[in-house]
Amino acid sequence: MKRIYAFFLLLSLLTLASCSNKNAAGEPKKIAVIVSTLNNPWFVVLAETAAAKARSLGYEAKIFDSQNNTALEADHFENAISSGFNAILFNPTDADGSIANVSKAKAAGVPVFCMDREVNSTKAATSQILSDSYSGCIAIGKYFVKKLNKKGKYVEILGLVGDNNTWARSKGFHSVADHYPGLKMVAQQSADFDRNKAMEVLESILQANPDIDAVFCGNDAMAMGAYQALFAAGKANHVQVFGFDGADDALQSIKEGKIKATGMQYPKIMAETAALYAQEYFKGKRDFPQKIPVAVELVTAENIKNYISN
């Protein structure tokens, strides 16, 4: 009988130990935050929020910058696994190229929670918490068609061609705009999510197409660049610009009437959810939704007061 009590006591202690924030050596569990780049303020917010949330839950957290380089990302994964990190909160550099890294962590028993960007696999990551870019751009597409009254010429400026978000946004937008034959896309070009590149791209497009009515951009940085190009060409008052992200300068521009709309994403919600999922994993949960969308809200002149205070 004593043996049975001892067994249950041991089992209870082991269960308690597995639920605690500490590892076997009694030190706090460690969470690695690996992000595609810290060269973009949006990803800085994502990374810092994830690390801060992990720390607030009682874990050690360290941020790794992959500098948009899958080889460097692979090094970070090797490092995180060999250094005994207990979970990885991950913003992938490449939807296909990052799968191998996530699989390596899985094989080593380290759960990976993707944030914002996805990997093209439903078997590798423990869960993927993703901005619902497609649905957000359907909302922008509807507003775009209404504002152009179903007719006009427009330009689309795409983000990184190899990034899933680029195409999710483009497809969401086109799933609405392409139903209207009066709307004609005269140019579609990539500017890599970069403000200066978008400005140069639009300057060049305007030479061949000076009579456009609108520009749809895959992010707000490019929308701001496009606006600059239009302003320099004296067309800012006639051409409507649409972005995506919910960046502060774009919100201010919507308030000032320079930009028509954007899609408000919530990097903080994604980062905090990823950290909370890691905690639930440590407590024993395993049935996570494979891909969970985070809603993107349409921001326009009509509702900008909800998103900006001054």
């Binding site: 918490i129 649905s135 891909k291 969308p293």
Partner: protein
Amino acid sequence: MKKFLKYFAALVIVLFVGYHSVYFKKLNEVQANTPSGKINTTAYTRTFWDKKLLPSLNKAISLDQLIGMLHTDPENTFKKYSNALGIGELKYFMVKAEGSVKQVGDNDLTVTLATDNKTVKIETEYVYGNAVRDASGLINRNEFDNTSDFNEISAGINKIIREEVLPDFKRTVKTGDHITFTGAIEMNKKFLNLSDIEITPIQLKILK
């Protein structure tokens, strides 16, 4: 002679095994028979519409009642009646109501609700988005490995509405008609706006 028979038998066996080990087929035949692993979203959407969505519409909440509850106790009303498949402030409700047509616009219908004189809009042109799919609460996101398949369900539902629900109705409806409708609405829980309600229709009926 014995040696010859032995070699002949061995040759027959090799030819027999070889013939049955290798076969040739046209590539297009193989591709046609290979399962892609992708859900047939068109068939899925049709089955969902006929077998799940339409039979569930009697569970839709009365729009007047919902507006009243959202005024008095939004937190509990969202908790009890809204659906959403992801994280965030956008939530969806399945609603039904009766009212009279105040205005027939190019893109929507303005309807005065029968019970409290409030006006709402029914979308008749820009039927896009996830309102119906998500308001139904009948689809499990985890059934879909692929995000684009999941999005195609919404696109398929909206196509049925645009092509099968709206054309006859739009042709005949006019100002002053008394109508009943069932549909889906999207609400932002954080920035609740009850003065500008838009309904994506699923069923529309003119009572005259």
